[in-house]
């Protein structure tokens, strides 16, 4: 049950139309009383401005409102800025929630504590921030449909001839007799010149419409489509299989299964850290930096398990890639990328001892302990061996007489040895940590004399797969295309009518860049000897200024 507004020209317009789509007569009282017509969406009926009864109408009108849209943008903007006051929690290295809370309180005082407890330290993952972005997305869709479709229809069905009341209410108008020449040729001259200026010209009797760059009107709608595709792409990330983000630490010489990438193994051949050998510059001094890193690099070999291998086992490996991963140069394989993210230098790899007689200093033989893979027993000969009763890779002290380890990483290794020698066949027990030896059963005859350590580097890599990237790329491209179309081109129209007495009535409209369309009209005015045009807004301003002067 579409109601209609029937114009004087007998054309039926949908309810809500401001300017008759056929002849251009203003249909609402507001437009009839205005000096310059509101040419937004060419005066076509906008759903949100027409219906406001049902709940659907109300929701539709809410999201299509520019006021709401701009408010959403501003709220998002303010929320985003709040998130930059203190560092977000993912940039804080503290591990547990309690540690983080303490960190904020200790570093930033009570404001920091408040910031953390309000959830502002993780603002961008908060439900309300995501709801905000979601509402922005809905607003973009609804507003585009609400205005884009009627605008498209009305521009598609444009008539050449417009009513006087339309022409006179345009911003740039000209009226009067031509300044020289034969008025019968005027429309031809205008057509020539406008075509010359790359306008499309249509004529209907004594009326002419020159139009250029209509596609520019599609720019905003295209860029909104791009934004929506982009936002959808971001949402796809939540689907399983679309997104992999795993960290892996890998030591030099190690081969490890790649997390999140079944059947692949990565070997770390070497980690390289290079620094610049320059003298510290002024700004380095100001920042208290002595050396600047030049390169972080991990030389790796990526292997794939052959088809018939047992899952999880690292035999039957085929070399896939031999690559040097550097910052800005990730290793790429089948949609997965390996990034150089972190490193740890000189991790303890092996500790060397020698079983030594305390009195004579005589050594019975070396004992070398691989700290990531210690053995139960180190045999030197038949009667001489060292049993490893306990191993604490990251020794942190005693608790109830028991040695404790903080982590499984060999940062501060400690051992309980049982030394079996020909002299002491029952064995002597000794607790050995860095710079510390405890002999629980009194004075031993032998000791594990520390000889040295071997270290190696460890490289921190990130394994990434993001199948949403192509979607995001398409969205981004469409967005940029739309923005460029909407920004760098303008939709210009010039309507001309020649009245029976040969005088000319001209009106012009552009969605932006009046300066440019005026240059076009200047050119056609000179070429076809048209009467001089006026910009009704300039006139308005002049009047205002004059009004000021009389005060």
């Amino acid at each position: 049950m579409m109601e209609k507004i029937i114009c004087v020209c007998k054309h039926e317009n949908p309810v809500g139309t401001k300017i008759c789509a056929n002849c251009g007569r203003p249909l609402t009282e507001e437009e009839q009383n205005s000096k310059v017509l509101d040419m937004k969406y060419d005066g076509s009926a906008i759903r949100s401005k027409t219906y406001n009864k049902s709940i659907v109408d109300k929701i539709w009108n809410f999201f299509s409102s520019v006021k709401v849209g701009v408010s959403l943008i501003i709220i998002t903007l303010v929320a985003a800025s709040i998130g930059t006051i203190f560092p977000q929690e993912f940039y804080v290295s503290a591990g547990t929630e309690l540690e983080r809370e303490l960190y904020y309180e200790k570093t930033y005082g009570s404001l920091g504590k408040l910031y953390y407890s309000l959830g502002l330290a993780d603002i961008y993952s908060s439900w309300w921030f995501q709801v905000l972005v979601g509402m922005l997305g809905i607003s973009i869709i609804v507003a585009s449909l609400d205005r884009g479709l009627p605008l498209y229809k009305s521009l598609k069905n444009q008539r050449v001839k417009r009513h006087e009341s339309f022409m006179k209410r345009q911003r740039v108008i000209a009226e009067g007799a031509i300044t020289e020449g034969d008025s019968a040729r005027t429309l031809d001259l205008i057509e020539d010149k406008m075509k010359n200026l790359k306008y499309k010209v249509r004529r209907e009797g004594n009326a002419l419409l020159a139009e250029r760059g209509r596609f520019a009107r599609s720019g905003p709608y295209i860029n909104h489509v791009g934004l929506i595709i982009f936002l959808l792409g971001v949402m796809f990330r939540l689907l399983p299989g679309f997104y992999v983000d795993e960290a892996m630490w890998i030591r030099e010489g190690e081969t490890r299964a790649v997390p999140g990438m079944d059947g692949y193994f990565l070997e770390n051949e070497k980690f390289i850290l290079e620094t610049y050998d320059n003298d510290p510059t002024e700004s380095q001094k100001q920042q208290g930096v002595n050396v600047v890193a030049k390169n972080y690099q991990t030389n790796v070999k990526l292997y794939k398990q052959s088809e018939d291998a047992v899952a999880g086992q690292s035999d039957n490996l085929e070399l896939v890639q031999d690559y040097s991963i550097r910052v800005n140069h990730p290793l790429q394989q089948e949609g997965y990328s390996f990034y150089q993210m972190d490193f740890r230098l000189n991790e303890l790899k092996e500790m060397r001892f020698s079983l030594t007689n305390k009195e004579t200093g005589e050594s019975l033989g070396p004992v070398n302990i691989d700290l990531t893979n210690p053995q139960k027993e180190y045999v030197i000969d038949d009667q001489t061996k060292v049993a490893l009763l306990g191993y604490y890779p990251d020794f942190s002290g005693f608790e109830n007489g028991e040695p404790q380890t903080k982590t499984p990483t060999p940062n501060n290794p400690a051992f309980i040895f049982k030394m079996i020698t020909p002299e002491k066949p029952d064995g002597e027990v000794s607790f050995v940590a860095i710079q510390q030896t405890i002999e629980p059963n009194g004075d031993n005859a032998y000791k594990m004399a520390f000889q040295g350590v071997e270290t190696r580097n460890m490289s921190g890599l990130t394994v990434h797969k993001d199948r949403t990237i192509p979607i995001l790329a398409i969205g981004g491209f469409i967005f940029l295309l739309g923005v460029a179309i909407g920004s760098y081109w303008s939709h210009r129209r010039v309507w001309v009518q020649q009245l029976d007495d040969g005088t000319i009535m001209l009106a012009a409209h552009t969605n932006k860049n009046w300066f440019t369309i005026k240059k076009d009209i200047d050119a056609v005015t000179e070429y076809a000897h048209l009467p001089k045009y006026v910009d009704q807004l300039d006139v308005e301003e002049q009047n205002e200024k004059e009004g000021d002067n009389t005060l």
């Binding site: 985003a80 977000q88 510059t281 002024e282």
Partner: protein, 395 residues
């Protein structure tokens, strides 16, 4: 003479050329008499724009020679980036000038560029080696495109400022007049920063302190201005220097606060001197210069600058930024403060365009928005780089 010296001289020549061009643009708009004022404006304007172009070419020379010398695009620290930003503003002005031929734009755009370059010159200008994450051609592509977009957007603030200078009645008390004068006062504060830095540098002022930072490590710091604010648990190491008046908690960088303090003092003194000597507000002094401008045209120039700058900014500061972030860190977006502020800038100009298109925020409102936009850009340049810690921070 090495390449880096030549580069320095070229930058100096550009600086002088911009100063001269500002005076010439002043001459081009100043003439009030009816006798051939138009031709004079034409003539002076032509000379002015020629000098501006010479300045830009000279600065391009600086940029290229420094690029060759350092081996990477000179946009990798505060001095280099800010200098380039000044250059792009001049470039953007020339572009808009040739579209609209409004000389008064030069009279405002060039002083802004001059101040920005002078501000840049207060930072250490030596060549720094690039850390691994910056060793990428995306440094060139992303930073230059983003700065270019910001510069074109800045021209809308130039047009907005001129619009307001003409539109706001300087004789009548109003909120508009207050805030406009406040903006001009802020410009004088930037001058205050430059003057205070140069003054203390000329005095060779240096004071060394130890302090305890927020991670509770003992560090050293050198002030180049008399320390008004002291770092957390500071100890003076240099003899015969001023003792700080107030000690700051560890999260506040008292050295930077001291710099802000001195800029504020110098700027305010300069501002008060101007007011005392001329017995007028700065608006009142500038207003006669902009009397002849056409307001709707200025409004359009402001709008057009946003239209030209917005896509460039989107491309450089968001799209290229995301591509590079994806390549360097494996995530195209990480909510780093600089990223967030680029997004905020983008959202702000998006709001600007929507308000203008649909709510009819034109003229004065639009001019104010353009100034707010530029304030956000400056915030992103200065505060985010120097105060808020993140991946992009320069100091």
């Amino acid at each position: 003479m090495s390449l880096i010296d030549i580069s320095g001289y070229l930058l100096f020549i550009a600086f002088i050329a911009y100063l001269v061009a500002t005076l010439l643009f002043g001459g081009a708009i100043k003439s009030k008499k009816p006798d051939g004022a138009v031709q004079r404006a034409e003539k002076w304007g032509k000379v002015a724009i020629t000098v501006t172009i010479i300045g830009l070419l000279s600065q391009l020379g600086y940029f290229i020679t420094r690029w060759i010398y350092t081996g990477h695009a000179p946009v990798s620290n505060m001095f280099e980036f800010t200098t380039a930003f000044g250059m792009f503003i001049v470039g953007a002005f020339i572009l808009i000038y040739f579209m609209y031929r409004v000389v008064v734009l030069g009279f405002v755009a060039l002083p802004i560029a001059i101040l920005i370059i002078a501000y840049a010159a207060m930072f250490p200008n030596e060549v720094n080696p690039l850390v691994p994450s910056l060793q990428s051609y995306w440094l060139t592509v992303h930073v230059i495109t983003a700065a270019l977009g910001q510069s074109i957007l800045a021209i809308s603030a130039v047009a907005g400022l001129i619009y307001l200078l003409k539109d706001i009645n300087s004789k009548q008390k109003s909120r508009n007049r207050f805030w406009l004068e406040f903006i001009l006062y802020f410009v004088v504060l930037v001058v205050g920063f430059v003057v205070s830095s140069i003054t203390f540098k000329a005095m060779d002022y240096e004071a060394q302190f130890t302090y305890v930072d927020k991670e509770e490590f003992e560090s050293e710091i050198v002030y180049y201005m008399p320390a008004v604010f002291g770092m957390n648990e500071y100890q003076v190491l240099t003899d015969d220097v001023m003792e700080p008046l107030v000690e700051m908690p560890p999260i506040i960088n008292a050295k930077k606060l001291t710099t802000v303090f001195w800029s504020f003092i110098f700027g305010t003194v300069i501002y008060l001197l101007i007011r005392l000597i001329t017995r007028r507000r700065i608006i009142e002094m500038l207003q006669p210069l902009v009397q002849k401008v056409n307001l709707p045209l200025l409004d359009e120039i402001g709008y057009r600058s946003v239209l030209i700058g917005f896509p460039v900014f989107s491309l450089g500061a968001l799209v290229f930024a995301m591509i590079w972030a994806q390549e360097a860190w494996g995530r195209f977006w990480g909510w780093d403060p600089k990223e967030v502020w680029a997004l905020i800038t983008w959202l702000f100009y998006a709001a600007f365009l929507h308000l203008r298109l649909s709510k009819g925020w034109e003229g004065r409102k639009s001019a104010w928005l353009a100034l707010v936009g530029f304030a956000i850009i400056l915030f992103n340049l200065i505060v985010v780089n120097l105060v808020i810690a993140g991946l992009h921070s320069y100091a």
